[in-house]
Symmetry: D2
Subunit: 345 residues, 4 copies
Amino acid sequence: MRSFKNDYSEGAAPEILAALVDTNGEQTVGYTEGDPHTERARALIREACGQPDAAVEFCVGGTSANLICVAGMLRDFEGVVCTPDAHINTHETGAVGACGRTVLPTHDGDGFLSVEEAERVWGFQTSCGRHMTRPTLVYITDSTEFGGVWDRRRFDEVCDWAEGHGCKVYVDGARLGAALESPANDLSLGHMASRADAFSIGGTKNGMLFGEAVVIRDPDLRRDFPYLQKMRGGLMAKGRLLGVQFEAAFEDGLYWRLARHADECALALRDGLMAAGYEPYLRSDTNQQFFTVDAGLARALEDACGCEIFLTLPDGRQVVRFVCSWATETADVAELVAFCSEMPR
Amino acid sequence: MRSFKNDYSEGAAPEILAALVDTNGEQTVGYTEGDPHTERARALIREACGQPDAAVEFCVGGTSANLICVAGMLRDFEGVVCTPDAHINTHETGAVGACGRTVLPTHDGDGFLSVEEAERVWGFQTSCGRHMTRPTLVYITDSTEFGGVWDRRRFDEVCDWAEGHGCKVYVDGARLGAALESPANDLSLGHMASRADAFSIGGTKNGMLFGEAVVIRDPDLRRDFPYLQKMRGGLMAKGRLLGVQFEAAFEDGLYWRLARHADECALALRDGLMAAGYEPYLRSDTNQQFFTVDAGLARALEDACGCEIFLTLPDGRQVVRFVCSWATETADVAELVAFCSEMPR
Amino acid sequence: MRSFKNDYSEGAAPEILAALVDTNGEQTVGYTEGDPHTERARALIREACGQPDAAVEFCVGGTSANLICVAGMLRDFEGVVCTPDAHINTHETGAVGACGRTVLPTHDGDGFLSVEEAERVWGFQTSCGRHMTRPTLVYITDSTEFGGVWDRRRFDEVCDWAEGHGCKVYVDGARLGAALESPANDLSLGHMASRADAFSIGGTKNGMLFGEAVVIRDPDLRRDFPYLQKMRGGLMAKGRLLGVQFEAAFEDGLYWRLARHADECALALRDGLMAAGYEPYLRSDTNQQFFTVDAGLARALEDACGCEIFLTLPDGRQVVRFVCSWATETADVAELVAFCSEMPR
Amino acid sequence: MRSFKNDYSEGAAPEILAALVDTNGEQTVGYTEGDPHTERARALIREACGQPDAAVEFCVGGTSANLICVAGMLRDFEGVVCTPDAHINTHETGAVGACGRTVLPTHDGDGFLSVEEAERVWGFQTSCGRHMTRPTLVYITDSTEFGGVWDRRRFDEVCDWAEGHGCKVYVDGARLGAALESPANDLSLGHMASRADAFSIGGTKNGMLFGEAVVIRDPDLRRDFPYLQKMRGGLMAKGRLLGVQFEAAFEDGLYWRLARHADECALALRDGLMAAGYEPYLRSDTNQQFFTVDAGLARALEDACGCEIFLTLPDGRQVVRFVCSWATETADVAELVAFCSEMPR
């Protein structure tokens, strides 16, 4: 059976790969500094965002993009507020902290940063002046680590709160395509771009060989990013590679089609499993689906389709994660649903 | 009325000050590198700890001692487990994080690190290999931020747990005197020194003008400390000053007498306030006492005796902290108890 | 005319690209953690090095590889000795320094670290104990930034010196292929691997799309590298991409053939220009060639073939750099030599 | 014989010590945050500098002051230009680098930063855009590490150069008193304060028990300093101690009288040794004097008066340093001159 382990288990979508092959013989300047593909990709992304003055930069991967942007928007003694499950808090080996900045997790349990928790953390951290890390940045993820989609109301609430508290906003868009193409979404790329000080547009998990774009409105980060990117080891010598891929992805909407396909597969999977009596952990309308199962079943599913055992609940049951990608096929979903339906529970 | 704000509001105990004055004219080598007072202080502390081979170093202050030791015992990608109220987690402006290391707070609410919470954090942080900060150090505070005293059983439990999980142990002893001289204490300096990989012996809050001693058994930190201390700006040019003070404090038990006096004042205050119907927040048997009062009373007490409003509870009531020191007098306590008894509640 | 600007101006060698295309549909685990291509590449490189127990890791780029390894082999207060032109000293925006470690350049002017200068820097840096950054690592580049080749005698001298002074040795092999395939080379990969504590094998500048391998004998770095790589943002999600490329490069000697071709083109260019009366700046036997010309000619050459103006001499003349790669053709070299020969000087 | 090893070998001047003793019983708020002595010291220093709006902060020591200010004025990828002998480059164990910032030494050999060398370093470091550490700060020391005094012309030249190149200026004034009280000085405190973005006023080496003041005009550093100081472990709990000392030093010119005395002793020593045929290494008009002697004589002098062997020249001769302080007496100088005069050379 096809693996549902994650969305970075396979190569690039055929159109992306073809673009890399077609341009392989071209000689270009390096470092994303002016080759025609990178410049064209920049223009396409600026246009898609409705931000003609934003900087668009290209990174080798998500952790690199996050640490450059998050640490780059913080002075030494400042911190970033995020949910406890945030990638920068749990799965990047302290990368932001390794740059000397502090991650300030809330107690939110569902992947969405709440204004109440942001306010609580902010209130605590500013209660003792210079003796405490000062929160000046908010980090959210769309779609969230649990597959959730930020709707416009919720997003605006957080942005309003941030604005009112002297905080900037960064959106980790490692799975931004999956979020914006979800049927549950009502947030436009343009609106997000108009309020976030910076955000990433993930390629690795959406059909590219590798690479993330970063859109930057914040003037300080715009100025500093080129230096920080080189200094943090995140600048690609053959910058063209990133430009070529994002050019192909944004020239005619391929980026969004790939994401929509992954979402559709995942929603079919979700509906199939629910129909078969499986219990969703948290509602997800994107390409990651989470179900709560007994430990024995979790292991069986892991063996069968590579799904990850995401967490273990206090009662011993486990949450498994199924991930669909651009490469998942309808038949793969049907096969998995059939398999799951037949498993004893 | 005398202020009960904190134990670093005043100068040095007379004996300490006299030692500084008496030695003021001596010419010595700098940097705690071999002047006779520093060497004598080292010998006295080693003897008091029963650790003839431990390194004893002297620092200008507690944050400096903590950041040098904690960051110094961690490799870049490692983290330190502590309670959420730990000084390194809340009141040092991210000093450990600024050295690129990560603080990993538990959910313990009473100032004591529990084995259960340490295990939970450790389990989570090691669940995803290289993708997560690796916990390799445990940080505890004796007495705790809430005035609690680590008894031997509890201390050994944490040390056993740490040993079993490849973690070192650091004890922040900013108020170690208050802990070890408390009537609630059954932990000897010798036993603590035999199990902690490093710990501090606070002078600033126990009658010295300033300064903390650090006792180090950990061989790596022993070797690195001199360099780290200079590099982090924590090495005093006139190192003699620290040596002279700790020599005076440990020559004939002055250090312990000063701490015992502060404890006795605070326990008399506690008993007086409880007799007057005040409600303790958490039990403290040391020189800091915490009481829960209405917000109005909190402000009145703050105005009268400088006590700090330590935290606000969900029900709106506030926890105030009274701190006694070497300089508090019995009459000061009596005056405060009388004042509090007369306050309307 | 084909550009001679650098060896990372173009895509991948056809065999490398084909391997990526051929494996594009495979589903593999991520992060270089066990996919068959990465494991095969590791085995091939270990075998080529004669180091069955070495760790072989794969990085996205050279700066990332350098900062992870160099900072990873240094404790906080330690430094790395290198030549002033070393990439880590000049062209990585202080990447090693951004990890809190110190770069200690010598005064060597020709790209080769001399034992005399290493000794001088070491002597100075250890003359004042804890007050100075302690040198514990030596960084060399083969081929050097000026195209030079480390011969075995010179290499062993530096390794002997390092061994005698408690220093480890790291070789930046961004252009290792060009060095080892040069006619001037008498140093085997096996010998280098037996003495360097860690070294990189550059792919980006030798026909791969991107990527560097790192070979690690040093036990501490072996243990820490996986964490450091993730923490510094240098771990690729689709780790397979790196494995596939290095597998293709090392399966049948392609890596070395590509390098030899680039060297041969460059030596033909060198001989052609010298025959035409051009003056070499420093002798290079590898794929980078440096010539001293008048400023006007420098600009004309830059316009014609993209060569970089590398530095300006005190007398106003300039050093231009021509770089050949796997993609350079004999006819390109002939065209450039003809062009240069006709230029008025 | 009295030791001439350094100016931090002894305690505090009697007036400073008396001020500490007199105020020992006062209860004050901590952390230099508003106690009357600290506020008075701030006002006195602002007045002396003619900078009513400058921030005046107090640090425990020179390395701490330097690292907070220098790193605090640099973004992550920026560097500070200084002479190779600068304290931050050689004798602070890489403290600035440990904050992730880069020190960019020139080749100046006499302790004075020259505009020519600043320009050269700046030109090199900005020749390759984002690939190189960007110089944005100039660090000078007055008096220099070799005892030299910055005259107004030279100082203005560097400040003009900095202004023209987008660089800020920091003056390390660890021995500022010795500089400004030197007969060779024509630079007023007010003029320096009007041009430096920040500078320190050293207490440790000029008769205080310990402590340095920092005067800050730079608006960014003013805003950040309180947080940075706590975060770097450089904030003293009993902040009063620093306030009391600087209040006593600046109330009636004591600071300057102490420095002038040290200078006068040193100049008498210099003249005496020159009359006896000793050869000065570099001209110094302040409290440090440097003489070139044979190695045997260097050792004999070191044994006799504790002077440091500062460096060894290529010809094997050595430079010894004699330092006078507030505590040096005329008779001490006479004794040393007599001793030196009798030594066989």
